[in-house]
Amino acid sequence: MPEVESCDDSPEQQSGPETSREKKHVNRERPRRAQGKGQLSQDVQRRIGLQLRAMYSDVVNEGIPDRFTELLRRLDKPEKQ
């Protein structure tokens, strides 16, 4: 909430060419500022999602370590307990 304030009181203060330039800039900035955390966190969520899948598929891509092929081969005998 305090973040929004700083962005809201700027437009009325000045006049002249400076203002239009600044206004343009402020307007361009506004969507990001106004939504603030929402937009940022969407972007963050997307990146976290991508990273999570990348991390996961890194392990998937290691395939089947020999120990598990061996294990299942050994298990593949009739079980007598």
Partner: protein
């Protein structure tokens, strides 16, 4: 009692995903491998409880998840700083291979409560539906959804504290430069 080759094949085929799930859950490759091994052994000795035609992968995930939760509770009681220890051991080799961001993500994952962690991985990485994840975790679909949401929010919070500050500084800097 006989295990047809296709069952054995299906179990083997599930290994890569089981390992990825286990690594994401516990953050430790060696322990993950042990979890997978124990999962396969348990599955094998309870093959009669698997219904042919149903999802073998989901069945194995359920076994692994339950085993992890039992172990987690046991370890929690035995050692206090389990998670910190894993996180520490992880960062060193990963920093060398340039996968620092994965190291951070893994550490952050370990800070989540296990129920949120497992929900997020099942939905966000393993590709299960909410219904399947609910079945694996033995809870309601709505519970999975809220766990995933909480997990995402918490992860973002952990991983972005620095990023937000940096971006704030950077955009203020841009503003000054452009206006002046």
């Amino acid at each position: 009692m006989t295990a047809p080759d296709d069952v054995r094949g299906a179990m083997l085929a599930a290994v890569p995903n089981l390992r990825a799930f286990a690594v994401s859950l516990c953050g430790d490759v060696d322990r993950a491998n042990d979890l997978v091994q124990e999962t396969l052994l348990r599955a094998w000795s309870h093959l009669e409880s698997f219904e042919p035609g149903t999802n073998m992968s989901a069945w194995l995930f359920t076994i692994l998840r339950n085993h992890f939760r039992t172990e987690y509770r046991k370890r929690r009681r035995e050692v206090e700083d389990v998670d910190g220890g894993y996180a520490e051991r992880l960062t060193a080799p990963e920093a060398q291979t340039g996968h620092i961001e994965f190291g951070e993500l893994r550490k952050a994952l370990l800070q989540l409560p296990p129920d949120q962690r497992e929900a997020l991985i099942l939905i966000g990485a393993s590709g299960f539906s909410y219904e399947e994840a609910a079945h694996i975790c033995d809870c309601a679909v709505g519970t999975i959804k809220s766990r995933v949401n909480r997990a995402r929010a918490k992860l973002a919070e952990i991983l972005t504290v620095e990023t937000v500050e940096e971006q704030g500084e950077r955009s203020d800097g841009d503003l000054t430069t452009r206006v002046a």
